[in-house]
């Protein structure tokens, strides 16, 4: 089964609205990262948050490890936030991280 599940699959917002993205994972994660993938394909690490709450700019991530879930909150969304947001976990094995299918975010002006 899929290790990482993200919801919603897609999200359309008006500029200025807030976005809440969810990530659930089926096995213990020793590391969790949120990535942003631009329409051109570039993958950027946004936040590394295996537990607790972290902030950077307009982004806030909260991970509840024992419940195997993480959220990414984007406040005051901008059109440039449009793209795919990916959640990925590392189980501590030495060969891979597991990605969710992503949330496609579209922010309209």
């Amino acid at each position: 089964g899929q290790q990482v599940q993200q919801s919603p699959a897609s999200l359309v917002l008006q500029e200025g609205e807030n976005a809440e993205l969810q990530c659930n994972f089926s096995s213990t994660a020793t590391q969790l990262q949120w990535f942003y993938q631009s329409p051109g394909g570039s993958l950027v690490s946004l936040l590394s948050n295996p537990s607790g709450t972290k902030h950077t700019g307009r982004l806030t991530s909260t991970t509840v490890t024992k419940e195997r879930r993480s959220s990414l909150h984007i406040s005051s969304s901008q059109t440039t936030d449009s793209g795919t947001y990916l959640c990925a976990i590392d189980r501590g094995s030495n060969n891979r991280i597991f990605f969710g299918d992503g949330t496609q975010l579209v922010v309209k002006p």
Binding site: G41, L43, D101
Partner: protein, 114 residues
């Protein structure tokens, strides 16, 4: 801006041709991963290295790809005989250690096999 440098950005090959892509990891990162992202957004782990040594690779990589990470040279991933199903975005990532560390990705090489 990504400090992991991948080249070329785009690669177009015919079936049966070799397809080679390169990656310069971030300075000080001894661990390099290659992932394939297909058009369904599915990520497939291909291979990883620590310094010049292969740590793990999947069957497909072992059979059809040639990969290396020589010292003082870019890492490379080469498909020996491209197939249509190889069309995908190939992402290189580097890290300070094998697990429990942040991965930093390059922009990727988009391969189209005609």
């Amino acid at each position: 801006n990504s400090k992991v440098i991948q080249t070329p950005r785009y690669l177009v090959k015919g079936q049966g041709q070799k397809a080679k892509m390169r990656c310069i990891p971030e300075k000080g990162h001894p661990v390099v991963f290659w992932y394939q992202q297909n058009k369904n957004n599915e990520f497939k782990f291909l291979i990883n290295f620590q310094n010049q040594e292969v740590l793990q690779q999947i069957d497909m990589t072992e059979k059809r790809f040639s990969a290396e990470c020589p010292s003082n040279s870019p890492c490379s991933l080469e498909i020996q005989s491209s197939e249509a199903g190889d069309s995908a975005l190939y992402l290189c990532a580097s890290s300070r250690q094998v697990s429990n560390e942040r991965l930093f990705f390059g922009h990727g090489t988009k391969l189209s096999v005609l």
